[in-house]
């Protein structure tokens, strides 16, 4: 039964994802927002929540809501905010929009995830910019980067759980296989285990294919309260059954267990509880596979696998489109491209495509409940959503 403060996603849009040299923040953000409004029968949002991580550093641009709203034709009409939570910015922005509608203050809200990584090139992206999401004083200044941190954790994970190195190949293989049919994806080529193994540099460390490529791109959603769904909407409205955002300790050395994503676990449990569903009911999971370590630990944190056993799921076929828990159904961060602060919104757009039956060749039959989860750094924050049809 629809309650008046139930939230629905009635408009979705995503730009192409990749190294989009010719497109700026304003073009990416506003074109996604305009397209989402068009998908929502032209309904204009009263408030726009922008998720972004790097703009102030890479493009020297803050105040993104004014920028994007102006170019989407909403100047003088809509409120606007930027929500920053490193790579979980998109998920956090969605949570803020969900809250605004649930509070009763707003009837129609938009979420725009936008990221422009290619305004800066070179090693500085990793060492100076992406590292702003970890602890600057106690991690970044010591020379640690996000990738370096995840690589060290992966080595520990492989050691503690006696994982055969090639067993992790399945995660990027599934993502790349799913990306083939996504016209917006950055990479549309399947990879095999041999390619994956060839990408391993230092023994025990990451393969090139364990790391999602940083990408430019934007995605947008139009959210409404249940009583504002247009009667003549040409597609199904997707119910945003719950959104739950939680922070954890910033530095990895302060985590109670560096190989357990506590924020992801807590936000999953709360999101399921709020939505009133059980984990086993989830038909697909758009998880954070910005590294294979993230993918594995997300599955364990959510409870899809026991501690130390998440790595087994890729090899068993569970996570493939035909499996019982399809993940990264349109390519995930690995193949679609990792749009950092926009990635959480990209995930929700893709989940909506599945629930609306518009996922094309990658359509999961009878998909009714989807879970999406975006993580900041090594799970120093997590935003989890349950969507249903």
């Amino acid at each position: 039964m629809r309650r008046t403060n139930d939230v629905f996603i009635i408009g979705i849009a995503q730009t192409e994802i990749g190294e989009l040299w010719d497109l700026s923040l304003r073009e990416l953000g506003s074109s996604a927002l305009r397209e989402a409004m068009a998908d929502a029968n032209g309904l204009e949002p009263e408030a726009v929540f922008v998720g972004n991580m790097l703009a102030a550093n890479t493009s020297r641009q803050a105040n993104l809501a004014s920028l994007i709203n102006e170019h989407a034709g909403l100047a003088g009409k809509a409120e606007g905010f930027t929500v920053e939570a490193a790579e979980a910015s998109g998920g956090a922005a969605l949570y803020a929009a969900w809250n605004a509608i649930r509070s009763g203050m707003i009837d129609v809200a938009a979420v725009v995830g936008v990221e422009k990584t290619t305004d800066v090139v070179g090693a500085g992206i990793e060492s100076r910019l992406l590292s702003t999401g970890i602890d600057s004083d106690f991690e970044a200044l010591e020379g640690l980067t996000l990738t370096g941190q995840a690589s060290l954790l992966l080595q520990r994970y492989l050691f503690e759980n006696q994982v055969p190195r090639e067993a992790l190949a399945g995660f990027p293989m599934i993502a790349h296989s799913n990306g083939v049919n996504n016209p917006k994806a950055m990479f549309r080529k399947a990879i095999d285990e041999k390619t994956y193994m060839k990408g391993i540099g230092d023994p025990g460390g990451f393969s090139t294919f364990d790391l999602a490529p940083n990408a430019d791109g934007a995605a947008a959603l139009i959210l409404v309260r249940g009583d504002r769904i247009p009667k003549d909407l040409k597609h199904n409205a997707v119910r945003l059954a719950s959104s739950c955002y939680i922070t954890d300790r910033l530095a990895i050395h302060d985590h109670r267990d560096p190989l357990f994503f506590e924020a992801a676990a807590v936000s999953t449990q709360k999101a399921l509880l709020k939505a009133g569903i059980e984990l086993a009911m989830v038909d697909l999971f758009e998880y954070s596979d910005n590294t294979t370590l993230h993918a594995v630990l997300s599955l364990e944190a959510a409870g899809f696998a026991l501690r130390g056993e998440g790595w087994k799921l890729a090899g068993e076929g569970t996570l493939a489109l035909q499996g019982t828990l399809p993940v990264a159904t349109m390519g995930g961060h690995k193949a679609r491209g990792f749009t950092l602060g926009a990635s959480g919104v990209c995930q929700v757009v893709e989940a909506c495509l599945q629930l609306r039956g518009e996922a094309g060749a990658n359509q999961i039959p009878n998909a009714r409940i989807a879970m999406t989860q975006s993580l900041a750094a090594t799970a120093s924050a997590a935003a989890t959503q349950i969507l249903s049809i």
Binding site: E19, W21, D22, T118, V121, G122
Partner: protein, 361 residues
Amino acid sequence: MTKEVLSQAEKSKLLVPKVKVGIIGYGAYVPRYRLPAKEIARIWGSEGGFPVKEKAVAGLDEDVITMSIEAARNALKRAEISAQELRAVWVGSESHPYAVKPSGTVVAEAIGASNDIQSGDWEFACKAGTEAMVAAIAMVGSGMGDYALAIGMDTAQGKPGDALEFTAASGGAAYIIGPQRSALVNIEASYSFVSDTPDFWRREYQVYPEHGQRFTGEPAYFEHVGSSASTIMAETGLKASDFAYAVFHQPNAKFPQRIAESLGFINEQIAPGLLAPIIGNTYSGAALVGLTAVLDIAKEGDLILMTSYGSGAGSDSFILKVRKALKQRRGNALSTQDYINRRTEIDYATYLRYRGEIRMR
């Protein structure tokens, strides 16, 4: 074809001078020292394959001026003219020894040119040499002078440890442009495609250039070289198969091969002029020295396409047609292959010494 080109030129984008011009003489110079890519990888490691096999390195007593003099002397030998007949001496480079003080005047004096000349240095990243060549075509083509010398030469700087270090090499070539009656090769037309594309740069007081990594590929090299070459072919009505040879700017082995394939050229057409795998990227000299290797073997009547590329960015294309005189006069000077065969392998430490890279702290 020239008549056709001329009539089209009136309404087309082609640059075709009023007075028909050609290449009267050409000369290559490649220094003898070679640094293999595996030697760089020994010090810095490498991510998979190498962009070139090895690169040419200028010796302790060499710079853009001395190497330009060598190439210019070779060009004069083939031109069979006196240096006194030159009306311009132009050097294009991104490694002129002086920031202020021309390389061209030193070269002119050394080769015995008169004082009644134009001289100056050109800068447009890797297409400074072909830009000088277009100016030389214009000078001779307008009737302002009979002969103009255009040189593209570099001792390119690659930051130690940067991807560019594998390719940044030394070398180049000199071309004397003159009236078509005494030419080795007719210059049928040229065309330039230019845009503001910041893919690679070096600011004043910086020692090494910076680059936009993958941005140097698709939006930069491929966009400009592709537009320049396809426009000159479309405007002259020529297809890839009409050419005996094609030479493209060659920052590595892969880029010129890929653009050639996309334009419809086959390996046999580009292999003779593709020197980057064995001498590296000679920047302003790259397309020009590649062309010298082609001229060393081309036959009368052969059509040649040369397309340069300079970051920042622009691309010059030339359509050349070989004349009978080429065969008679090319033996007047050392061939490009002679320079390539003159090879002394050096290790990384010697390379650092020769390039003045050693600084203690």
